[in-house]
Amino acid sequence: MQDLSPIAATHREPLLKVRGLSTHFTTVSGTVQAVDGVDFEIGHGEVVGLVGESGSGKTMVGFSILGLIDPPGRIAAGKVVFEGNDLVGLPERELRGLRGRRISMVFQDPLTTLSPTMRIGRQMTNVIAAHQAMPMADARQHCRDLLGKLGIPSPDERMHAYPHQLSGGMRQRVCIAMAMLNRPSLIIADEPTTALDVTTQAQILGEVRKLREETGTSFIWVTHDLAVVSELADRLLVMYAGQIVEQGSVETILNRPLHPYTKGLLDSIPTNNPDAKRLPQIPGSAPPPGIGIEGCKFRPRCGFATDTCLDKPDLKILEGTRAVRCFHPQYDVEHPLTEAMS
């Protein structure tokens, strides 16, 4: 595998380049900025974790890339440059040709993502038939192979089954297989393991990692679980209230979080805080969408906020892909960033 390191990925044209992406929902009570000026890149073969609480706009980033934002939502501004073409404003026909072929998506709840009244095999071959002319027998063979690689026992039988006859883990494997059927170069996985139990989660992560090494597919792995993403991702994007507040490689973020929000997230993971009698929590809760907050959006919950924070902080690039949107980044006294950079 080449070009996997984040630094290298920036040298050539990345697979996906998102610039100033803003997705707004117009409701009776005003405009909700679900995604508010998001910039990031995904390199070829790179796995990027998109982390944040529910409601932070992670899922909407995924849907925006695929052009699957339904009214009353719309992409208000920004570019989504994928393989050199801007997808924003692309006619629906062309977007449909990309979906499931070049960019795929896996949803959070495997129990609701498959049509309940259609056999698994049919749903899978439909995804192939939507993009290429392949004889039915070949298509079915391809589906069986992929299901097998994802650890589904006797895939032939499973293809004759209806979704409700499979367990949640099995169904999610089917969904992942469907997303991979046409060998896309990018898969947006929207919390694909959140609804599953821990063992299944670990198995699926292992299988996906193996398949990824084989195919070199890039992933945007959306999750609120830092532990999961740290096993899989090369790089992390931390989202809060529709904005990216911190980004960087997995190690630097996990070891030296800069944004108070990221720090709070990490502190609330039990293994990071073995001595604490009570896990520290980020005070307050994420702002309900549509509530405008002046300046830094994390300010009301932040212990380090000052009057400076009433201005809007920019995403400051520190070095390479490391960036933070904060006036008071929390440099660790023992491991200051400068030391880490040298």
């Binding site: 449909r96 979906r99 439909n126 995804v127 409700h164 969904c175």
Partner: protein, 324 residues
């Protein structure tokens, strides 16, 4: 599944009993059948004799038991007007009504599902609005008025089809049907169309609502995310999932249409059980009225029983439970 069946059956029987009591009390207690059977100016002993013969001098609950027992033997009395057992009379008129109802349902399904899909898929454009408005009219306007307008336009002005009657019938397996003769079909066209309007409106609304509901669901969004075409999603994903409630509704509405046929049959002089009951009410032919009411109520209960069973069979989730 067994307990489910027993509960359904029990509910049906209770409902039937309640309705039969209402009909019984209504016919035998409120209206006095004696004066329909006996000339009110007849001598007192004739009246007494008839009273005894009919068991009308007995207490009400005893009369009810007799009524139920003879009803169970299939004896619901003899029509005063037609001098035929009332059940037999209904049986002879039933095929005409049934074929009208089936034709109406088929028209409603074939027209309603595509229109509903269109209206649901197009969300808020003018065509979808038009379809929705028409479906509201179809539900709220009195059927007889629409039927009259249809007669004026298609029969009187355009002269395409006759104004009423059943036309020639062909006999298949001992059952007369209008579906196999040209004249029969011509006579049937308007009444079937008129009868189809109400279920048509319901099917449009149900389909439209179903499409809108399902379009928001994850499996549709996932299919879209896989690049499957909107047409394919609509027809082979969404339609497949909303077909179950549509078919259920069509089954349930079957009985309603048999009752609704009263209006259509009267307007178009269609010789089915609907016209029979109206004619019977007008001349107080009580045995026929009772037989009709009990027949339709029973049919209603049987249909909802069957629909429950079919729904259970159609839904693969329930089918699995049965198989394992």
């Amino acid at each position: 599944m067994g307990a489910f069946l027993v509960r359904l059956l029990f509910q049906g029987i209770v409902t039937l009993l309640v309705v039969s009591i209402i009909i019984f009390v209504g016919v035998f207690a409120i209206g006095n059948p004696l004066y329909v059977l006996v000339d009110p100016s007849a001598p007192a002993e004739v009246v007494q004799e008839t009273l005894r013969q009919l068991g009308l001098d007995r207490p009400l609950h005893e009369q009810y038991v007799r009524f139920v027992l003879s009803a169970l033997r299939g004896d619901l009395g003899t029509s005063y007007v037609h001098a035929l057992p009332s059940l037999e009379l209904i049986a002879s008129r039933l095929p005409a009504t049934l074929e009208l109802v089936v034709a109406g349902l088929v028209i409603a399904f074939l027209v309603g599902v595509p229109l509903g899909l269109l209206a649901g898929y197009m969300a808020n454009n003018w065509l979808a609005r038009l379809i929705s408005s028409l479906s509201i009219l179809g539900i709220s306007l009195p059927t007889f008025w629409i039927a009259l307008i249809m007669i004026i336009v298609f029969s009187l002005e355009l002269g395409w089809v006759p104004t009423g009657g059943r036309g020639d019938v062909a006999t298949v397996l001992g059952i007369e049907t209008s579906l196999l003769t040209a004249s029969g079909l011509a006579h049937m066209a308007l009444p079937a169309l008129a009868l189809s309007l109400f279920p048509l409106a319901l099917i449009i609304r149900l389909t439209r609502a179903g499409v809108r509901e399902h379009n928001r669901m994850d499996y549709v969004k996932f299919a879209r995310a896989m690049g499957i075409s909107p047409q394919r999603i609509l027809v082979s994903y969404v339609l497949r999932n909303i077909l179950i409630p549509i078919v259920t509704m069509m089954g349930l509405i079957f009985g309603t249409l048999v009752a609704f046929a009263v209006v259509t049959e009267t307007v178009f002089a269609w010789p089915g059980i609907g016209k029979l009951i109206i004619d019977s009410i007008k001349v107080s032919d009580r045995p026929v009225i009772i037989a009709y009411l009990l027949f339709v109520v029973t049919m209603f209960l049987v249909i909802s029983f069957i629909v429950d069973l079919i729904t259970a069979a159609l839904d693969p989730r329930i089918r699995l439970v049965k198989a394992s």
